[in-house]
Every structure is written in C-alpha cells, then in structure tokens.
Amino acid sequence: MTARVLMPGQKRLTPGSVAADLLTLFWFAFSLFPIAWMLLLSLKSDEEQTTTYFRFSPTLGNYSTVLSKRGTDLTSVDFKGALLNSVLAAGGAVLVSLLIGIPAAYAAGRWKFRGSEDLMFQMLSFRFAPELMVIVPLFVIYHQLGLFDSTVGMVWVLQLVTMPLVVWILRSYFQDLAPELEQAALLDGYTRTRAFLQVALPLVRPGIAASALLAFIFAWNNYVFPLILTDSEATTVTVAVSRFLGGGGQAFYNLTAAAALLGALPPLVLALTIQRYLVRGLSFGAVKA
C-alpha cells in the first residue's frame, strides 16, 4: 500500500495534528472570551446586566448613555471629555516623542560618542522601572509645579513611556540604513541636516509609522499615571472607564463594558488605517536588507 500523495497545503490527518488544531481553537476561545463577554454585557439593559444568560434583549442604549449628557449626570463620568483628553494626551505624547525621538534615534544609530550606549540604556531603564515606583515623587512634583490634572502634565508624563519606545525602535531602523546613502548625499553637496531630512528620514517612514502607533497605544492604555496625576479635568479614557464601576456608588457593569469597547476603538481604527505600513515596518527593522 502506498502513502497518499498530498497536495501542497493539504495536511495528513493524524491524532497529533487534530490535537494541535483543537488546542489552537481552545486557546482562541479562551483569549477571545473576555472580549465577547464584554460585547454581550455592553448590549444588556440595566435589569439584565448582572445575569449570565446568553439570551437577552439586546440594546444599544448603553453606548448612547455613555456618550450623552444624561449619562454624565447619572454616573458623574464625562466620558466624551475623557475621550478628548486621551486623544490630546496620547497624541501629544507621541508628537513630543517623535519630534525629539527621531533625531535622538538617528544620532544614537549613527554616531558612537562617549557614553552613547549608557545614554541609550538609561533611556531604556525608564521602561524597566515600575510606574508605581516613581508615582509618589511625581505626584508631589506635579502638585508643586501646577501640572496636576492638566493635559500638559499628562503629555509630559506619558512621553516618559513613549520616548524610549520610539528611540529604541527607530534606532535599529537607522542602523539598518547603509551609511553610504547619507555619505553619497554629502558628496552630492547636501549638508548633514539635509542628508538626514531628504535621504535617511524618508527611508524610515515605515518605522516611524510603526513606532508612533505602538507609542500611541502604550500612551492610550496607560492607567496608573492618569489615575494618580489627574482628578477630573484631564481624566483619560482608561480612568473614566473604571469610574463607571462606581467608587462606592452604584456599579454600572453594562456601561463600563460599553465605555471600554468605545475606548478601545481609536487605537484599533488607527492600527487598521496604517496596517499597510505596520506590517512592512515591523519586519523592515528586524531583518537586515
């Protein structure tokens, strides 16, 4: 008896392969279940929000409540304002990180100077340090400088999170570029600044897109800094979502779910829009061309 010849892409059905497939399915179900549960919960009415049934009369009311003035009066959470705050804080942090981080990454990728590696490591160490470790001194400093509960303050603290990310990702992009390209530009008669702006920068655009997106998501999802360093004016989405659970008052699980899903939308939409760059970007930096 001869073994059946398999076409490309066909798989032999063995107990092992079936088990592997089942395991994968199980993993997907396990990891997607919380999201599915959130979606169901966000569609449940106030009466049904504590039930665990999969059968209920779905309503979009929670979404409109969360975004409306009525919802703000009911729960004392200004979710629309928080959305705007998050956009400003995360967007601002990314902008600051790019403005300072791109030249920094270029310098770090191109030139070795005394202490350059130490400087890079120092930058990375911001990422090692637990946020809770620095939050108390930051709280005191922010109160004294008047940065507490301000958007500027949020931009400033969130760029601590995003800057190392941008610098470290982009540095590897710049290192992957052949230095001969900029050298050729120098000999063509361009200054170092123009060689950087006109030759190096356009070539790392995918890297800028990828790092900017990752930085935005990190800034957007940050919870500890806005929790401690804002009160009501500059509150971000992450903190606002948790407030629907009610500190001591009534807990709105359905509103929390709706708000959380709404809060996850902006980074998701952003990621999908620049996905084209992202896929190219993330692989470009990893593999030497």
């Binding site: 001969e180 390209l181 050298q183 050729a184 120098l186 000999l187 063509d188 361009y190 200054t191 070539l203």
Partner: protein, 325 residues
C-alpha cells in the same frame, strides 16, 4: 580638476591600523589606480580624501588647499561607492539629478539638468532606465547609474571605489575600455580603487600598490609590472602568478633550475630572481599588457649573457626593506 596630495595620512579603527603614514601625490588630470587586496585600506583612503571619515593624523590637500577636517560637501569631489549607494526612494533620473540640485556643484535649470543627464546616460548606455527605481535594476545597471551620478557633475576629483567589480566579465572588459575613453575622465583627476590588477594596468596612468595600510610601490603600470619592489607587489600582478625560484650565485652567475639557468652577476650574495611568465627570453616584454592570456613558459632559456629583458634580479642586501618569499 585639481591636484591631490596626501601627507602621512594615518587612520585607525579601534586597534586596527587601517592606514599608516600614507603619502601620495596625484597630478592634475591624472588617472591614478590604487591596487590592493581587500582589507588593505583602499576604501579608507578614498573616504579620507572625500572627508567621509576623520583621519587621525596627516593632511589631505586638494588643488593646493588643505582640506583636512573640511566637510565633504565643501570638498567638491564626487565618489562612486562600491555598494552603489543609490537612493532607493528616487528614480534613476532623480538619483542622477541629485548632485545637480544641491546647489553646491553649480546652478542648473531643469533643461540643463536634463541635458547633462542625457549626455551621461547615453555614454553609459542607461538611457532607457531613467524612470526605474534602483531596486528594479541589475547590479551592473546600478553600478553604471552610480558611475553616472559621479560623471554628471563637474568635480575637482573623481573617487571611484571598485566601480566595475559587480559587472560580469564581458561587460567589465567593455566598460574598462570605455572608461578610459570618457572625456571627463581624461580631464578630471581620477582616484580609482580596485583589487583587479588588469584594471589597474589597463586604466592607470600610475599605479599605487597598497598592503595593510602602507603604500608599497608607486609607479607607471610598466614599472610596477616589470620592476616590483618586493614579492608582494610581484605577486599582486599577473595571473598565473609570477615565477619565483631560489637561486645561488656561483662562478659569477646566478644558477637555478638544476643549472639550466645561469645568469651572470657579480658574485657574493644570495639572489632572488623573478620573471614574468610569457616574457620568456624574447626581446622585450612581449605579453604586456595582457599577461592573463600568456601561458606559463617556465625556464627554457639557457645561460643568457646578462639579464634578459623581462628578467629582474635583486640581492636581498640591496633591497633591505623588501621581502622576498
């Protein structure tokens, strides 16, 4: 168009000594070829001239002006990189226009740019590639575009780093012939780097042989070919390699090859004798400049009176610094 001088240029990368006291002077309009194996410091020399890297000590002078420490864009030199270094995001046309648009090599309006580019691309046979991107070119085409980016602009010195190395053998031979014919090349001081001795012999007005960051010999192709100062230079040129045979002096003659070779010489010291294959015992050096096609002729001569043409003999005491192995 300008002279180029290097005075005691020294460069180290960490602990590696890339260039050691390199001194060299190129005349106005000269075509100078630097020949050496990989790692000898050829590219380092070019980059030192271009100002793309700082040198540890020494001076670089272009047209009589000290250019040491001057930024590359102020040196008015053009360079073709071994890795082509074409801008990936620009078309061939825009790559070639790049030096014309910087404003530092002169002012060119759009028509003048197109005229110059057209001239160069016609010469190099890349007219049909203008709208392509570098990634859509073969290595040979890329190399010609890189060469075009050098030729398209006026410059004091052209620096060419192995500009033919990635071409296939046939194209390389054709380009080698063409390169010498190019008008600009014959007018502009050209510093050409290669590891291919045939290129060096065919193109160079003079050749410099580089070994581990030191200039071993400088001379016309004929001088370097027939009077190499040491075995490194002798072996660097020629394929098959030069014959080197231990010989001994007795009775006023060099004797080697079981006595079948006997060359009269003042008695007294051990001698290394070299001959170019193909030169045999005939008058003159018949095989130059195409030694690659000459067959290895061996030692068929018998007791010539005096050193025949194409032969060279040195005593090790005379050339104390030279190494014969």
């Amino acid at each position: 168009m300008a002279t180029l001088e290097l005075h005691d240029v020294t460069k180290t990368y960490g602990k590696v000594q890339a260039l050691t006291d390199l001194s060299l002077a190129l005349g106005d309009g000269e075509f100078f070829v630097l020949l050496g194996p990989s790692g000898a410091g050829k590219t380092t020399t070019l980059k030192s001239v271009a100002g793309l890297q700082e040198i540890d000590s020494g001076r670089v002078t272009i047209g009589g002006t000290d250019m040491t420490g001057v930024e590359p864009y102020h040196r008015n030199v053009a360079m073709a990189f071994e890795s082509y270094a074409l801008y990936p995001q620009k078309t061939v046309f825009d790559n070639l226009a790049s030096p014309l648009r910087s404003g530092r090599t002169g002012t060119y309006d759009a028509d003048e740019q197109r005229r110059r580019i057209d001239l160069v691309t016609t010469t190099l046979g890349i007219n049909h590639l203008l709208q392509r991107f570098p990634r859509e070119l073969s290595n040979g085409q890329r190399q010609r575009v890189a060469l075009g980016r050098v030729l398209v602009r006026p410059a004091d010195i052209y620096l060419l780093d192995e500009p033919l190395s990635h071409l296939d053998a046939k194209l390389r031979a054709a380009m080698r012939a063409e390169l010498k014919q190019l008008g600009q090349m014959s007018n502009t001081t050209t510093f050409y780097v290669t590891h291919d001795y045939q290129e060096a012999l065919a193109l160079g007005d003079r050749i410099g042989v580089l070994r581990e960051g030191r200039l071993v010999q400088v001379g016309t192709p004929l001088e370097v070919w027939s009077r190499p100062v040491d075995s490194f230079v002798a072996k660097a040129l020629g394929q098959p390699e030069i014959n080197m045979i231990d010989a001994r002096v007795s009775d006023g003659r060099i004797r080697a090859g079981d006595g079948r070779i006997a060359v009269p010489i003042p008695a007294g010291v051990d001698v290394a004798a070299v001959t170019r294959s193909g030169s045999g015992c005939g008058p003159g050096i018949s095989s130059w400049p195409a030694p690659a096609v000459a067959a290895r002729t061996g030692w068929r001569c018998r007791a010539p009176s005096g050193l025949p043409n194409g032969w060279a003999g040195w005593s090790s005491s005379t050339y104390g610094s030279a190494t014969w192995t």
